[in-house]
């Protein structure tokens, strides 16, 4: 009986802790969305001429996402294929894995410092979308490699054996069997990477800069949504500024929810398909 009471109390504490976490999440989401949703309208998002609008920031963010994915996806996928399909557990491979793991643990501001020094200063790109995209592409590599590798591991060996037994070469097997089967995983990796690029701020501040105008090329500076929110929050004076900040934060939050929902959807479809 005594043990039962003890268990009950502990159970209550655990539920309380989980409740606090969930309540905090809901509090944040509700507070931001309820204050911001009212200021969001078509002109706010899409009108380039709107003084208070965020069209330029959305364009900058989109450029940054497109360019960094264009760089990181091929490299990441090839690395994952190599690690999972070709490599053996040799010393250089272990070192590569260690490097990827270390890369994943480095704080983003350090990527920013490196990008500023190497891409902006040494390579002479200045503060530009390209410089930021190169920096972020290194940062999202570990995410892409890991997620892709996990989906590669989930592909049953029978797929490979079946293909090889039919006389396909290793490369044919990879190209016609492995890659199609791992497409959902690669898609998940890309979505996660997009989420990371959109949400990142510190390295973007150092490498892309804060220019508020609409960028006409990737060699120009720009201001992403996160940096816009950062500056609005830091320098807000008028009530209007807070309204824009709330609206920008709401857009970011909605975006994050969409990213999470889509990865979950793809993951569930993927596992269902493999189980068939």
């Amino acid at each position: 009986m005594k043990q039962k009471t003890k268990d009950g109390i502990l159970y209550g504490i655990m539920i309380l802790a989980t409740g606090i976490i969930l309540a905090t999440l809901l509090w944040i989401l509700f507070y931001i969305v309820s204050n911001g949703i009212g200021s969001i309208n078509f002109a706010f998002i899409f009108s380039p001429g709107n003084e208070k609008g965020i069209f330029a920031m959305i364009v900058t963010t989109a450029w940054l996402v497109a360019v960094s994915l264009a760089i990181a996806l091929p490299v990441g996928i090839i690395t994952a294929l190599f690690l999972n399909e070709y490599s053996k557990n040799t010393r250089p491979v272990r070192f590569l894995r260690l490097a990827i793991e270390t890369l994943a643990g480095i704080p983003s501001i350090l990527y920013g410092l490196f990008g500023l020094l190497f891409f902006s200063r040494i390579m002479g790109l200045g503060q530009s979308i390209l410089s930021g995209a190169l920096t972020l592409s290194i940062m999202i590599l570990p995410v892409i490699i890991r997620t892709t590798e996990e989906s590669l591991k989930a592909i049953p060996v029978s797929f490979r054996e079946g293909s090889l037994a039919l006389g396909a070469t290793k490369w044919q097997t990879i190209y016609h069997v492995i890659i199609p089967a791992s497409l959902p995983g690669i898609l998940t990796a890309s979505i996660l990477a997009v989420g990371r690029v959109v949400g990142e701020a510190a390295p973007v501040l150092l490498t892309v800069g804060i220019a508020k105008n609409l960028p006409s090329s990737i060699f120009q500076s720009g201001r992403t949504l996160t940096i816009h929110l950062y500056y609005l929050t830091k320098e807000a004076i008028h009530q209007d500024d807070f309204q824009i900040a709330f609206a920008t934060a709401t857009i970011l939050v909605i975006f994050v929810i969409l990213v999470n929902a889509s990865t979950r959807f793809i993951a569930s479809r993927f596992t269902a398909k493999l189980e068939q």
Binding site: K6, D7, L25, I28, L110, T226, L229, V253, V256
Partner: protein, 369 residues
């Protein structure tokens, strides 16, 4: 990557800022320094390394002025290393360390002629960098980062103290007690917490937590160590929960079955058998949470107040290592900019140490299994 950070970050401690004294003139079309005439020079004018006397002559409002300036080498006090003629003493100012400026009235106000003499700063002592309490990068050229190291450590410890119990309790609940479906829903909510951009956390902190602190502690601004701890505690939750759950789920089910078979309750099994069996993984999760808190930048900038001072109370405004880099990189020049890279190296070393511990734990984990 490391290599490049190191090149920049080590330089302030091994080399002086320049080989010799440098001179900058303003609103002077033609200036003669030790016999060499410079026309419309807007950049640094270098001086030979061991020069002991500078004779500077130029025209001021129609009259020729000649300034004999003595350089006293090997002087520990940079303010007295350069001696101007006594009749101009009132025109000389010392606006920054290692910098003398002499000003002459111009034709109209705003067009004053100035000659600025910049001394080379000697290599900055590494110990003064790590243990210095004064961060005055522009005026006094003092680069002590101890206050920021302390702020980073204290805010991280605070976040861990609040975040870890919450995270562990809920991770055990989700992994060991809740039905799979409900657990999955809660898990995806927690994943959402991980996806929220740090700027949004900072914004939320500034709008909600900072006013709360203001009222709670009756402090002037509310941007404080406590607000930083609060936000960081939320931010480390998803990392710790995710890894704790993975390591709890990796514990073989026979552990649970054996424990239940000898009459232990489900709760006892969870906390006394499964939890200890997963402890290496859990510890790794906590350490990963710690590195997230150390590396967090934008959220902390928005809520912590950013005064470089020793954190003494929860309501104190503090500045972390990461905040300093992000705040000052935009305008830092010369040695100041390099020192920011040195701060990056300090951060890197901290994170690398934590990573090494995680690797050790993982090894330990695989050996145990």
């Amino acid at each position: 990557m490391l290599f490049f950070l190191f090149i920049q970050g080590v330089e302030p401690f091994v080399r002086p800022t320049s080989d010799s004294i440098r001179i900058v003139v303003q609103n002077i079309d033609s200036v003669t320094i030790n016999g060499v005439t410079w026309e419309n020079q807007t950049r640094f004018i270098p001086v030979y390394k061991d020069t002991q006397e500078l004779i500077i002559s130029f025209k001021n409002r129609g009259t020729d002025i000649t300034l004999p300036i003595q350089i006293v080498p090997d002087n520990d006090d940079p303010e007295h290393a350069i001696v101007f003629p006594t009749e101009y003493a009132s025109a000389v100012s010392y606006p920054e360390a290692y910098t003398h400026t002499i000003t002459f009235p111009g034709m109209v106000t705003g067009l004053e002629q100035t000659i600025t003499i910049l001394q080379a700063e000697p290599p900055y002592p590494f110990t003064a960098f790590l243990s210095g309490l004064e961060w005055r990068p522009t005026h006094l050229k003092l680069y002590g980062i101890l206050t920021m190291i302390l702020a980073t450590i204290v805010s991280t410890i605070g976040a861990v103290l609040i975040g870890v119990p919450l995270a562990l309790l809920s991770a055990v609940l989700i992994a060991e007690f809740l039905p799979k479906r409900l657990g999955g829903i809660i898990r995806s909510a927690i994943d959402l917490l991980a996806g929220i951009p740090s700027v949004v956390y900072g914004f939320f902190g500034l709008m909600m937590v900072v006013p709360l602190v203001q009222r709670l502690f009756n402090s002037a601004s509310g941007s404080s160590l406590f607000a930083a701890i609060f936000i960081l505690a939320i931010m480390v939750l998803p990392t710790i929960i995710a890894i704790t759950m993975t390591s709890l789920q990796a514990v073989p089910s026979m552990y649970r079955e054996a424990s239940l078979a000898v009459g232990a309750s489900k709760m006892q099994t969870a906390w006394h058998v499964v939890f200890p069996a997963a402890r290496s993984g859990i510890l790794a999760g906590i350490i990963l949470g710690v590195s997230r808190a150390i590396g967090e930048t934008m959220a902390v900038i928005l809520v912590a107040g950013n005064s470089p001072q020793i954190p003494r109370a929860l309501s104190d405004s503090v500045r972390t290592l990461t905040a300093t880099i992000a705040l000052e990189m935009g305008y830092a020049q010369g040695r100041h900019s390099q020192i920011l890279f040195s701060i990056g190296i300090v951060l890197f070393v901290m994170i690398l140490t934590l990573n090494t511990i995680i690797l050790r734990l993982k090894k330990h984990l695989s050996e145990a299994a």
